[in-house]
């Protein structure tokens, strides 16, 4: 979808055209679900959080300024929804019979969390990549998701995460280092 087409859809949605809004949702649905799964590790939660984010977009379209790019704005809303959800889940775990574990503040993904492509043809390389991805903390997961999967540029990532571009670069570097380390056993086993 071109930028001009996106602007036209947003303008339509602002004026109450549901078809424009639904086309916009279709355009971002897969990306949003993948990002949300990267935070939660659960498809059902990802769907609910994606719905929550799109609902917030729908309600706040008036606040969206013309000329602004939609993707960073939307992913920032989605990120906030995901982090709020993870914090709630952490608090419930803290007060439940399940003991809190070290590293909980990193919102770790469960070992059996399915990858975004779980419903698609499961390819071994993708599975390995996802397995390595699961070992990262939430800060590193989110930056990998935004850069590698969503292909946002540094300026957009900085806007979504509300951090300077220098921090985007250093966080990406360290996240990739950790991802490479986690992939090492697989890389060594692959001829």
């Amino acid at each position: 979808m071109s930028v001009a087409e996106e602007i036209r859809l947003i303008a339509g949605a602002k004026h109450g055209d549901h078809t424009s809004f639904e086309t916009l949702v279709e355009r971002y649905m897969g990306s949003a679900m993948s990002v949300a799964m990267g935070y939660t590790g659960n498809r059902d939660d990802a769907l609910d959080l994606t719905q929550e984010a799109f609902y917030r977009v729908f309600k706040n379209l008036d606040r969206f300024h013309e000329g602004e790019r939609f993707a960073p704005w939307f992913f920032r809303i989605l990120r906030n929804a995901c982090l709020t959800f993870l914090e709630k889940r952490r608090r419930i775990r803290k007060t439940s019979i399940h003991a809190r574990e070290p590293g909980d503040e990193d919102y770790p993904l469960p070992d059996n969390a399915p990858g975004p492509a779980a419903n698609a043809e499961g390819q071994e390389a993708q599975e390995e990549l996802w397995r390595a991805f699961r070992t990262l903390g939430v800060k590193h997961r989110e930056i990998i998701l935004l850069r590698h999967f969503e292909e946002l540029d540094y300026a957009s990532i900085a806007q979504v995460l509300d951090i300077p571009i220098g921090t985007v670069m250093s966080r990406l570097f360290h996240a990739r280092q950790k991802l490479k380390q986690a992939l090492e056993p697989y890389m060594e086993a692959t001829p």
């Binding site: 949702v25 990306s31 679900m33 993948s34 498809r43 043809e121 993708q126 990406l172 570097f173």
Partner: protein
Amino acid sequence: MTADAPLTKRQQQMMAYVDDELGVAERAAFEREMEQDAGLALETVSFKNLLDASKSMALAEPTDHEMRRFWARFYNRAEWRLGWVLLLSGVVVLAVEGLYLLLTSALPLTVKGSAIAIVAGGSVLLWNTVRLTLRTSHFDRYRGVMR
């Protein structure tokens, strides 16, 4: 989580090169540096390969069932919230009015006390149930199951 250590100039350039964020002149300069430094070239290629590999990851495209679930509860969310606000406001107003009428009535004190205890007990139980449902509904593993 501990903060990430800041990068050296070279590491910054490496990231920017991998992510195609360098200008033409800077890119050419970095490529010349790589030609002279095999270690730098190797590390840069390994980052580039990682980026290319993850770009090929399939996205979580929603199924038809998930899309139906998504839209089924979308546009009526505002109505749902408004309905609850109106309902609870009505209950609160009625409860206050009822309490006032009860206290100013000529009924025996025991009847007044019992009525207040019943309403208060019911309210506490209702509030507790609603709160628990709201807190845990997100984590109900069967919530996505269509009945």
